[in-house]
Amino acid sequence: MNQAELAWRKDAMDTERRHDGADDPPSFESYARQVRQRFMRHKVAVWGLATTLLLLAAGLLAPWLAPYQPNEITDAFSAGPSADYLLGTDQVGRDVLSRLLYGTRVSLLIGFTTVAIYVLFGTLVGLIAGYYGKWIDMLLMRITDIFLSFPYMLVVLVMVSVLGASLWTIIIVLALFKWPAIAMLVRGIVLSLKKADYVRAGVALGYSTPRILLRHILPGASGAIIVNATFGVASTILAEAGLSFLGMGVKSPQASLGNMLHDAQSLTVLTEQQWLWLPAGFIILLTVLAFNFVGDGLRDALDGRQL
């Protein structure tokens, strides 16, 4: 038992002695407040959250914010930043700022959808493997081993190229090789929680297995899942950008942050038209960094008491 826990238990006993406490506020609110306070103390996490919200707003509002249509070909080619084109135009004559806004939209869409899919699936696998144990666990864990053996970038790249890159194939393939991590995380938590007396009490009270898994075990894993998912959005956006950079992700003419950097592989673009790749690179960096900081803040904030 660590110090914090001891102090907490002592505190609980003091509460008993003090009064019956009928007028205490319900505890979930106080817990939520505690988490919020801890998160707010984490300054970079707050910065991350603000940036994330800003990027989300930019992505959602792209159609209204963008000065031009993302694929609209203007009469300026490879023009540097100017009053008309704040971040210049690309070689085909499209407005870079507009494409950046739409690219952010696509990156966030892929990030969130992919994570939602694999978190759902991985959690399900983890719950089943951890709770049922025995051969089901053995089988599911070997399958996760198989998926985890493939280097992520390599297998995703090859599979997307084989299936043909569309938004949905990219999302499905990115998710297909990401669920094992969540499955293993959830499985570990289930293994420890299923021995908890309150779960045993649930069995003794004749609750169905889905009820026990979803209402009594899953909430105990939710903190870890949320943290992992936040980091997952960051790494998924990074992976998609990598795919697009290699020319195997979101295909031109659709704008994505990664494929805007694809052109920078040519030395002219790299050295003479920095407006074509520097902003896109910074936006990716900013997005990934923001999500990573939020994840870190959430981890610290949720960690305190294992609630």
Partner: protein
């Protein structure tokens, strides 16, 4: 409830490819009958299998042999659905009140969940039923709106008892219900259990590793060692005249409050550790630590005699 030759073994993987998968015999060939309204104490060192026995008879662990008969019906192999009526008549109180309540649920939700899941109480009447349960264990209605961590250990244990009583069961397995509590609180909980027993004609299987609580609450006491019951007798009788050497040593280890009495007794102390239940000694399982062990004890397994004061020993004490 009747337990006949019940065993609970956990598989332990043996050396790889050796084919001889071993098993931890946590409960091995145990027979015991619980009569309505009585309390049977179950004592033994930690690791002797007493908690496993408790969990097995209410089907929280699957037995590997023997039979469990409850209210005239064999429930040993009932599938979960068929087991529900029996579950409603037998419940469990857990040892650690800090682990036995879901920390994310308010007390009112913890107490109403079983009743709502099994549709025993209408939703609009649930709060009244929860209040009744809380009152039964001496807690105010306002406790319902709070979360477990706002309560002390003793209060939580009361909530655990309230939850166990929500089905109005007949049998309660109390798995060391007071050993995690402060001494002053222990007495309160024991009194509560006794009051409830009278009021609701409950049957208790009261598991403890300390002798004190068992002595206060039990009508009969069973002593367990390495998965087997070695002695079973009325509480008075057992404490006055233990017949199994292990029981005697166990009683010796428990200091009576009277120092004068303590001095009179020539104290033989229990030496050594309890052997691994994965690899229990042959013959009488206690022979490795028994001060009176003889050749026969190393070879032949003694069985529990079928007397009022039952003992499993080749050379019981007078």
């Amino acid at each position: 409830m009747q337990i006949e030759r019940l065993s609970t073994h956990y598989p332990v993987r043996g050396a790889f490819l050796s084919r001889r998968d071993k098993a931890v015999k946590a409960v091995d060939d145990v027979s015991l009958t619980l009569y309505e309204g009585e309390t049977v104490g179950l004592v033994g060192e930690s690791g002797c299998g007493k908690s496993t026995l408790g969990r097995t008879i209410i089907r929280l662990e699957q037995s590997s042999g023997g039979r469990i008969r409850f209210e005239g019906r064999d429930i040993t192999h009932d599938p979960p659905k068929k087991l529900i009526p029996a579950r409603m008549r037998m419940q469990m109180i857990f040892q650690d009140p800090y682990a036995s309540l879901n920390p994310r649920m308010r007390i009112v939700d913890t107490l109403s969940e079983p009743l709502l899941v099994h549709r025993l109480v209408e939703r609009h009447e649930i709060r009244r039923e929860v209040d009744r349960l809380l009152a039964l264990v001496g807690l105010p209605s306002s406790a319902g709106n709070r979360y477990p961590h706002e309560f002390s250990g003793g209060q939580r244990q009361r909530i655990g008892i309230a939850r166990a009583l929500s089905f109005r069961p007949k049998l309660l397995v109390c798995d060391e219900p007071v050993s995690a509590l402060d001494v002053s609180i222990q007495a309160q909980i024991l009194n509560l259990l006794q009051d409830l027993q009278e009021e609701l004609t409950l049957t208790y299987l009261f598991i403890a590793h300390g002798i004190g609580a068992v002595k206060q609450i039990s009508k009969r006491v069973a002593v367990m060692y390495l998965g087997k019951i070695v002695e079973l007798a009325g509480t008075e009788e057992l404490f006055r005249r233990p017949r199994h050497p292990y029981t005697q040593l166990l009683l010796n280890a428990y200091p009576p409050p009277d120092p004068a009495y303590r001095r009179k007794q020539s104290r033989v102390i229990l030496h050594g550790d309890i052997p691994s239940p994965a690899n229990p000694p042959a013959g009488c399982r206690f022979h490795t630590r028994c001060p009176y062990a003889q050749q026969r004890c190393r070879v032949e397994t003694p069985h529990l005699s079928e007397k009022e004061h039952a003992v499993a020993c080749h050379y019981p004490l007078a």
